[in-house]
């Protein structure tokens, strides 16, 4: 029988199942970071348990670390303690830890693929909801809580129920200037932030096939914002090309053998899904969120909602609350929204392709005088090195952008990169929740190109009309 990729990966990882109970599923890769792991390691210690497979477990620090001078100690004592706790736990339990001075360091969802730890057909978990990113490689990857982190550390398995499957098919011709970020924001706008709850999503269609691996990661990354824990894309030649010669794939199985194995994970022709959603690429324009949930999104040529036009009482209430928090009027043009901060980075859009696309627009321009801070934060040490090799850092700094060290930074503002109350930020990150980037800060989610264009013009503009220098 024809199977989709999720069914194939699930079936291949069942360790034990019995009626009336959750299935024990084997986990191939476990990524660990400093915020959601200390209590899990402590749990192991209290129960006298070991990490079952330290060789399949990889730790990095990303959420708390400063993006400024790394030769200085971390100023915040609690962040410092959390980072040191991770290093100590990794040492005690024999887990590889990419600390701030390691050239493998970076945001967990950037370094997994970059190092060749993320591969097709693997089951991958991490105590972080954006683990869905790794699905871009045809891996079944999802976020878990700290109790589950402890479960995986102790057993290398998870107790799981099989999910329903949803195919999201994006077809047609993606207009010039429309990016992967716009595609996923448009998908969330269409199905809603709970539209994928209970499902694993597979993204298909020629538009998805045409995306680069970086673009595919952006799409899969925000799957959780549509309510689904995991989003996958069947592997193809692009996937294999990206992975070729990555650090953790060197010296292992012969390349051709690996590729043959990986190919077999792709969904079979004629496979079935529980639900199918279709999107036409021609209908997608550059997206900007106006509210406090990623589903509160619209096109650049559009306006904020008019409350009287919203028929559902709950939707109207939520929109009114969001507009109030965001300090926006109903029915106002999106292009009329001015910003005073900009953040380019995160596990959604902190990869080399994102920086290249942004730098292309920035060339020859300056950050607008009313924009007080425009941060560019690479997703990893390697991304930073590559960008500097290409001279992208110089383009950004010449235009008045700040060029920082890698990390999660202002996506969730656990380090010193925080919005002040009332700040309005064009951000390439994934969440525009109240206070996400700082208490009473206002976040508008956009693509890298849209973010830097807003930083230069001082308000949102349609990048399809951009004059490149």
């Amino acid at each position: 029988m024809a199977k989709n990729i999720y069914e194939k990966i699930w079936d291949a990882h069942v360790v034990h199942s019995e009626p009336g109970k959750d299935t024990i599923l084997y986990i191939d890769r476990h990524f660990v970071h400093e915020v959601t792991s200390p209590q899990a390691f402590e749990g192991l210690r209290l129960a006298g348990r070991k990490v079952r497979r330290p060789d399949l477990t990889f730790a990095t620090m990303d959420h708390n670390i400063p993006t400024t001078d790394r030769s200085q100690p971390i100023a915040d004592p609690m962040s410092k303690q959390q980072v040191e706790t991770l290093e100590n736990n990794c040492r005690e339990f024999g887990v590889a830890c990419f600390n701030m001075k390691d050239r493998r360091n970076g945001i967990v969802h950037v370094i997994g693929p970059e190092l060749g730890l993320t591969v097709p057909g693997a089951t991958i978990v991490c105590g972080d909801s954006h683990t869905s990113t790794h699905g871009a490689f045809g891996a079944l990857a999802f976020g878990i809580g700290t109790s589950e982190v402890e479960h995986v550390l102790a057993t290398q398995t998870l107790l799981q129920k099989e999910s329903k499957t949803m195919e999201i098919r994006v077809t047609g011709k993606l207009p010039v200037g429309i990016t992967a970020k716009d595609v996923i924001l448009a998908i969330i706008g269409k199905i809603g932030t709970a539209g994928g709850t209970g499902y694993v999503i597979e993204y298909t269609g020629n538009v998805i096939r045409d995306l680069s691996m970086e673009g595919r990661m952006t799409v899969c990354n925000m799957t959780i914002e549509a309510g689904a824990r995991a989003g996958l894309i069947s592997p193809d030649e692009k996937t294999f090309e990206y992975l070729k010669d990555r650090e953790y794939l060197r010296g292992g199985k012969p390349w051709e053998e690996l590729v043959q194995q990986w190919k077999a994970w792709a969904s079979d022709p004629g496979c079935r899904y529980d639900t199918v959603v279709e999107l036409k690429a021609e209908d997608i324009e550059p997206q900007v969120t106006w509210g406090t949930s990623p589903g509160m999104v619209t096109g650049i040529s559009s306006k904020t909602p008019v409350l009287a036009e919203l028929s559902d009482e709950n939707v109207r209430q939520s929109a009114a609350k969001a507009l109030k928090y965001m300090g926006l009027k109903e029915g106002m043009p999106i292009s009329g929204i001015t910003i005073n901060k900009m953040f380019l980075g995160s596990c959604t859009n902190g990869r080399i392709e994102d920086l290249r696309a942004a730098a292309k627009l920035v060339k020859g321009y300056k950050v607008h005088s009313k924009v007080e801070l425009a941060l560019v934060v690479p997703g990893s040490w390697q991304v930073k090195q590559q960008a500097e090799k290409e001279g992208l850092d110089k383009i950004f700094t010449a235009a008045g952008f700040e060029w920082r060290e890698a990390g999660c930074s202002m996506c969730l503002a656990m380090n010193a990169d925080v919005l002040n109350p009332g700040d309005r930020c064009a951000s390439t990150s994934n969440r525009n929740f109240e206070g996400r980037q700082g208490k009473d800060g206002r976040t508008h989610l956009v693509s890298p190109a849209m973010a830097v264009a807003a930083a230069i013009k001082g308000h949102f503009v349609d990048i399809r009309d951009w004059k490149f220098n």
Binding site: A154, T155, R229
Partner: protein, 196 residues
């Protein structure tokens, strides 16, 4: 883990859809390395004003909801990040059971792993409960997990669905790692067969 069998408690209403885990507990409180002590951080930005005093506009702050152990919520409760600090904060505050029409997947699982019962009721039933809770100070419900019923102050009952395995684990306070390790031989056999 403490078993969850029955619970009688005050019900506190939270009038918002899509309550995300950043609202349940903001990120500045995720820097701690302990598993408990999060009660004062629950709904922090909504509960407290900038000067640290309780925000009188936040409904749950009303004295009538003090000591609540059941939270009445709306659709897609707990969306966003995987932070287990969210159920920890609710649990530390005293909330042992949540009633809502739907939950985000990761948050939902995290609750069970802390011996808490996030129960799903139809939207119309939830709306009715919101009205009843607001109409009568000291409104209490009794949740009985074994019979899968919630009893109202007037003696009428609401039944709810729950996955049998999740119910079994809650009722017996089972440690999931312990449950899985019963099958340790199967894990070892899988590793051998798949050369992992």
């Amino acid at each position: 883990m403490k078993p969850f069998t029955t619970l009688t408690g005050i019900v506190a209403p939270l009038e918002a859809q899509n309550v995300d885990t950043d609202q349940i507990i903001p990120k500045q409180f995720l820097k701690r390395i302990e598993r408990t002590g999060y009660e004062n951080f629950l709904f922090f930005d909504w509960r407290f004003k900038n000067d640290g005093t309780p925000n009188p506009d936040f409904e749950m702050n009303a004295p009538r909801y003090r000591g609540a152990s059941i939270l009445l919520a709306k659709d897609n409760f707990g969306c966003g990040s995987s932070r287990e600090h969210a159920p920890w904060a609710l649990n530390d505050f005293g909330i042992r059971c949540i009633l809502a029409p739907s939950y985000a997947d990761i948050f939902y699982n995290n609750c069970f792993n802390n011996g808490m019962a996030p129960l799903i009721l139809p939207g119309s039933v939830i709306q009715q409960l919101f009205d009843e809770v607001r109409a009568a100070a000291g409104y209490k419900l009794t949740v009985d997990l074994a019979s899968q019923t919630i009893t109202k102050p007037d003696g009428s009952t609401i039944s709810f669905d729950l996955d049998p395995f999740k119910k079994h684990c809650l009722l017996n306070g089972l440690d999931q790692i312990g449950l899985t390790l019963v099958h340790e031989d199967k894990i070892a056999a899988y590793e051998k067969a798949h050369a992992v």
